[in-house]
Each structure stands twice: as C-alpha cells, then as structure tokens.
Symmetry: C2
Amino acid sequence: MTTIKDVARLAGVSVATVSRAMNNSGYVGAESRRKIEVAIAELNFYPNEVARSLYQKKSKFVGLLLPDISNPFFPLLAKGVEDKMNQMGYQLILGNVQENMEKEKEYLKTFAQNNVAGVLSAINGGINKLGGIPFVMLDRVADEEEYGVHSNDFQGGQLAATAIAERNPHEIVVLVGPRNVPGSLERLRGIEEVLHARKRTYQLLETSSFQFDATKETTSELFARFPKVDSVIASNDVHALAILQEALRRGIKIPEELQIIGYDDIPFSKMLFPSLATISQPAYEIGYQGAELLCDRIEDNYIKEKMIQLPVKLEVRESLRKKEIE
Amino acid sequence: MTTIKDVARLAGVSVATVSRAMNNSGYVGAESRRKIEVAIAELNFYPNEVARSLYQKKSKFVGLLLPDISNPFFPLLAKGVEDKMNQMGYQLILGNVQENMEKEKEYLKTFAQNNVAGVLSAINGGINKLGGIPFVMLDRVADEEEYGVHSNDFQGGQLAATAIAERNPHEIVVLVGPRNVPGSLERLRGIEEVLHARKRTYQLLETSSFQFDATKETTSELFARFPKVDSVIASNDVHALAILQEALRRGIKIPEELQIIGYDDIPFSKMLFPSLATISQPAYEIGYQGAELLCDRIEDNYIKEKMIQLPVKLEVRESLRKKEIE
C-alpha cells in the first residue's frame, strides 16, 4: 500500500510537510505543495482514514444512538441520517441502546476513544457528558438541549385529539408515552388542551415504554381497565396497531365500535386493513436534517437554526369514524 | 487527556517500548513491563483506539452491510450482530445498501480505508473483492462463499409447501424471490420437490425484489393474474402481509377463501389478526453466530464450521386453513 512516506520521498519533502499540505494546517511553500500534488497523483495515493484521523484529532466517524431498532420508526430515521452523512463523507457507528443506560454509557466511551467527529442521538437525556464532541439530538429533545431536530409534538397532540373529538367519542382513552421522553409530555399537553376546550372527558393509560415488546402488556391493560373504550389516542403506531389487531381478534368492529389514532406513520400503518389513522412524523427528514446540522457543527459552518422543529400531519384512514356534521 | 507519552515518561522507558508492551509485539524486558503496568494503572490510561488501530494495522471496527433496513428482518439480524460484537469489544459501521451496487462498492472502499477488522454482509454477491479483510456472509450465502451463516432454505421451502399441500389447496401461487438471492432458489427447490411429490399443480409469480416498497406491485399483479388463487406461498413476510391485508380489503375471507404462508417471522406477523403463518428464520441467531464466526476469523481462532446452517421452523397461525384428515 502506498503511504504518506512514499509521497514524501517522491516529492522530496518531509512527511510532516506532506501532512501539513494534506490537512491544510501550517505553512507549506508553493513549490513543495506543487511537488506533493504531483507525487499524490503519480502514486494514486488516497490517505488512510485512520492515519488522517490521528493527524486531525477527529475522524470521519459519527456515532448514532437509537433506542429500539425493532420499531420501524428508527430504521427510517437512520436512513435519513445515513443518506446525508454518506453524501458528506462520514461513516456511521451504530449504537442500539434498547433504553439501557449502561449500554448508552459504554457507547459514548467507545465513540470518544474512536475520536468520533460528532454524535447523533435519539436517546433521551444524559448525553451531555461527552466533553468537546458536538452532538445533535434527534426526535427526543429535552428543553435543556441546544441542538436538535424533532417534530412538533404539541401540534401532533392537538391534531390527534381534534380528529377524535370531531368523531363522536363516548369513552376516550389516551395512551401516555414514557414521561421521561420529552415528546410524550408535549403530545399530552396538546391532547389535553383540545379535549378540555371541547369539554370531552378522557382517561389516561400510562405506558412505561415505547418498545415493541411492551405492546402486549399495554393492550391487555387497556381492555381490562376500560372495557367500554370506544376511542383511543395512542402513543405510537406500534402500540396502536397492537390494540387495533387485538380489537379485531375480540370481534370489536373498527371503527364503528372502536376508533383509534396512532403516532409516527410507520410503513405498515398504511398497508394494513383497516389502515391506521395516524400523525405522520417526518422520520427520514428528522434524520436527514439532524445529520445536516451535525455536519455544520463539525465543520464550524454558520448555523441559522440550532433547534429545528418539523411539522407533523394528520393522516385520516380507516381506523377513524366519519366526521360528525356539526 | 493522558497519552502513551505520559505512560512512557512515568515508567521511564521509551514510547516505542510502551507500544510494544501494549500490543504484545517485540521484546520488552520484565522490569520495563512491570513499570509500564504500574504507570498505566496510576494514570488510569486507556489507549485511544485510533492510535491503537494505526499500530496494529487493524481497528476495532467491523463493517455491516444490510440490503434494506425498512424490512424488520434486518434490524433483528443487526441486533444479534451488535450484541455479540459489543461483547467482543468491536464497533459496527453501518452500511444500508438498498440493493444498490454502487453504494456497496463505496462502503467497501470506506471500510478498507478505515482498516476494518472484518466485514459482515447480508448483501448477495460481489463482495469477495476486498483483499485480505476477513468477511462472513449472513442470510444470503452463495455457493462459492467460504464463510457464512444462513438458515436452511431448502427445508424452509419444503415446510411451507407441505403446510399448504396438506390444507386442501385448489389454486396455488408460489411467489419466487429475486433469482440473484441465493436463498430464493433453494426455497423454490424445496417447494417444488414437495408439490411434485404430492402431485399438486401450481403457478409461479416472480418478484424482482424483497424490498418493502415492492409489495404493492406484487399484490396487484397476483390478484390480476390469478383471480382464483386460494393458496399463496410467499417469498417473505412483508410480501405475505401485504397480500393478506389486500385480500381482507377486497372482502376475501382468510383463510377460508385464501390461505397464505410467509417466510421470516418478523414481529408483526404474530401481532396481526389474522396472524400470519410463516417459516420462522432465526434472524437474531444468524446475526449473533455470524458475528461469532467473524471474531474467530479476526482472532485466528480454530474454526470448526465455516458454513453454519440453522434450522427453520413452521409457525402454524390463523392464515392457514385446518389440516385435512387424510
């Protein structure tokens, strides 16, 4: 393999000079620079990224922390991140944390050891501890964070509650996502504002996790505690789909006897019959714009917006009843 | 940050000696080694992985190539890979190729530039070109490959066909996965062997892709070309679910008027109503054992089995009719 030493030898300059030239750091005379360029072209030299990373003290790696890759929302978000990062020449180191704080810490340590250029995190909280490494939060963005991309969860809550309130609900159950996930509370705030304004009563069902594995428990609890429920505002699509399918299994008619709205718009929601009404979050866009923001931070570009909030959209589908004529 | 220089200074030896001691390469006297160990403990020094990678010419990174992270099968497989690799102290660089040859090539180039210790690939074909880097194929393993973990697709085809043949099929349609994916042909061989032996006629519907996005097209084509179909052997669960849901939408009774069996056993298949009968592939195990095999290659351990084939299992669920009494 061609190394920087070969380039230095052919150009007749020192290795340090080649290094300075390649990294645009420090003075290199015009003549030396020309010789180095000729040598690089002649040897068809492309720098080893590991070596470059040592010189520059930062690598072309970016760490990506995800809470649960079995929920299709996160692979979509990861795809947005990946597409942008690849364009910009960065590689992703994957960290699937499964809502496990120990795993999160371990990943952050390895990211630091590997001189990552930055971190993108869809994990809530606790990440500020990595001194000096720029990071951008995705989807789950706490108030104290400075850089992040997320969707407008307050608006999402409002849209979901309005869709249900306009469709003749008798007994509404609102699934509340984990309270340590910032978006959960924002959505709840949006939902409650609308339901109060429209003088609708409702019950809350707290869920301890957004995880795929937790859906079974939520579903059993819902039907056990609220046998007369006829309208559900769910915390995400995976939970909504589990409830919808369990209702079908019990012979409950969708949407006549039970209407339901999800949150996220994962690809399955549209595919299923009855299709799931939901609040569509731009998962791919969150990932893509988050990656863009992180690149700007890494490269010290001017940043117009540190905290980007993307709009959400109501998708009316077969799991909702017809709107009342008021 | 503590560096190898600080360790050398405190131990009173040269940086080169510390490096030799840490990498177990070359001679280091017993007394020097003791001093170095004391200094490392005193300074609480952990080596920078980038620096270590330069000394050792291989990093603690492993590349992972996946064809489609929007199909839940692959996140599951990735989770198995990740769990094992983390145990062994390796980090994953993610490459989501989306069946795009150009993207595959680019990833392989970056993997090489980053001195990856090895590559795990669930992409079919074309990967042998990375000189010297050990790799292990996952799920999609061509005949000419040396190292891989996949499930027994011939057996899977046999099980699926037997399940259908025993349940009074009148018009069977077999979805054939992309012919360039090695497992597709093995499954077809298993299916055809059983259907011929049982003197069942069937029609083939070729699909050009396993991708999530392709399901809509497959579904329309199926119902347009085979309006009397009453039994479907699908190429994967994502396609099977799309067909099942479209059948429900058209008012076709499942399983009385149409029975269907999938392949993979993604988490949604069990959750939906009617639940999808399928051939369960051990996606997590494929990932986990593939990672284990790659670690053994990287570390030059003795390898008992270069090509591991894992058994599959029939999951009888609501999308299948009752077995005939013969």
